[in-house]
Amino acid sequence: MPKADDFDEFYATTSRRLVGQLFAMTGDLTEAEDAVQEAYIRAWQRWPRIRGYQDREAWIRTVAYRISVNAWSKARNRLTAHHRASRHAEQPELSPDLLTLVSALRKIPEPQRRVIVLHHLVGLSIEEIAAETGAPAGTVKARLARGRKALAPLVSDFDEPPSPRIHLAEQNRETIARA
């Protein structure tokens, strides 16, 4: 009999975080919930093996992602309307900024979106992303670059905080305008 305590603790500490990551990858909260939950069910069925893994969270994330991609392709049209209608009534709405981000993420190809999330949200290095996605490091870099480029016009600045020079220039403009 697999160890339930281990699993429960793992589930309690990681499940919500993984839903967040999947949501960023899919743009659909219900789908992310379903995929993550299904991944945990599968993990429990293989728990004696999986509990020994160094990065169990990566296993769940990968499985959940695959589930969501498959589910997405199969049932997207059928379920999207229903999900949106039922969820929006119960959950707090996203802020306009986050809605913009979700909309922007949905516009870029799904492999790029995955890489963007793994790098910018999960904090994985190129090599770690390559290992998790099974893509060569060069491909990961290219996807990351393309994804950033595609997102650039749609969302605000990425990694770098606004430069002090720009700040000064803006302040100068404001000062001039006031004057």
């Binding site: 339930a4 699993f7 429960d8 589930y11 309690a12 499940s15 919500r16 975080r17 839903v19 967040g20 990551q21 999947l22 949501f23 960023a24 909260l29 992310a32 919930e33 993550v36 939950q37 945990y40 069910i41 599968r42 993990a43 429990w44 069925q45 959950q91 707090p92 996203l94 802020s95 900024d97 986050l98 981000l101 979700v102 963007i116 999330v117 910018h120 949200l121 950033r148 997102l151 969302v155 605000s156 600045d157 990425f158 990694d159 770098e160 905080p161 606004p162």
Partner: protein, 185 residues
């Protein structure tokens, strides 16, 4: 809009984490366990169906050696958990003209599957030396005498199994349940 993408993504993920509706760990485990049962149950039902189907041919196969179903010779099939012989076992035994009485006598003597295999291996080795003249009596009296109980020897001698028949018995790999059922029947 001066937040970095990392910050924005973190906010997005934070929203999802805060609003996610997930089952309890116990519910997830229950779900996984139930699904495992269902799968195993389905496989068992399928296996039982195959065995039951094969069981129909057992009588005919043993009683009329050489007469087997169309699929009987394809593959060993699933290991029988019940006492009924599979189509593969029936075919193998029938081809070697092993009668039900012979198998029953062996089973009654307490010969195990492992012993039958050992016997077959030894028989095969001896067959190299003297194929035609080899009889179970000789095996029992000689090479394997020390491994067999008197009851087992008697059963082998009484039924006069040939080397090919012993090989077929080993190939059929009858389970303990099957041997017990044959002994009882």
């Amino acid at each position: 809009m001066h937040d970095s993408l990392r910050t924005q993504l973190s906010e997005l993920a934070g929203y999802a984490s805060a609003n996610a509706r997930l089952d309890t760990p116990a519910a997830v485990r229950r779900h996984g366990t139930r699904r495992g049962w269902r799968r195993r149950g389905g496989a068992a039902l399928l296996g039982a169906g195959v065995v039951a189907g094969a069981g129909v041919g057992v009588g005919a196969g043993i009683a009329h050696p050489g007469v087997t179903g169309p699929d009987a010779t394809r593959a060993p099939g699933p290991r029988a958990s019940s006492a009924q012989l599979t189509a593969y076992q029936t075919t193998v035994l029938a081809k070697a003209h092993v009668t039900k009485a012979q198998v029953a006598a062996l089973a009654k003597s307490g010969l195990t599957t492992g012993q039958i295999s050992t016997l077959a291996t030894a028989t095969a080795q001896l067959t190299q030396q003297d194929k035609k003249a080899l009889t179970t009596a000789r095996i029992a009296a000689g090479y394997l005498a020390r491994y067999l109980t008197p009851a087992e020897r008697t059963a082998l001698l009484h039924d006069g199994l040939k080397a090919t028949q012993i090989a077929a018995l080993a190939k059929a790999h009858l389970s303990a349940a099957q041997l017990a059922a044959l002994a009882a029947g």
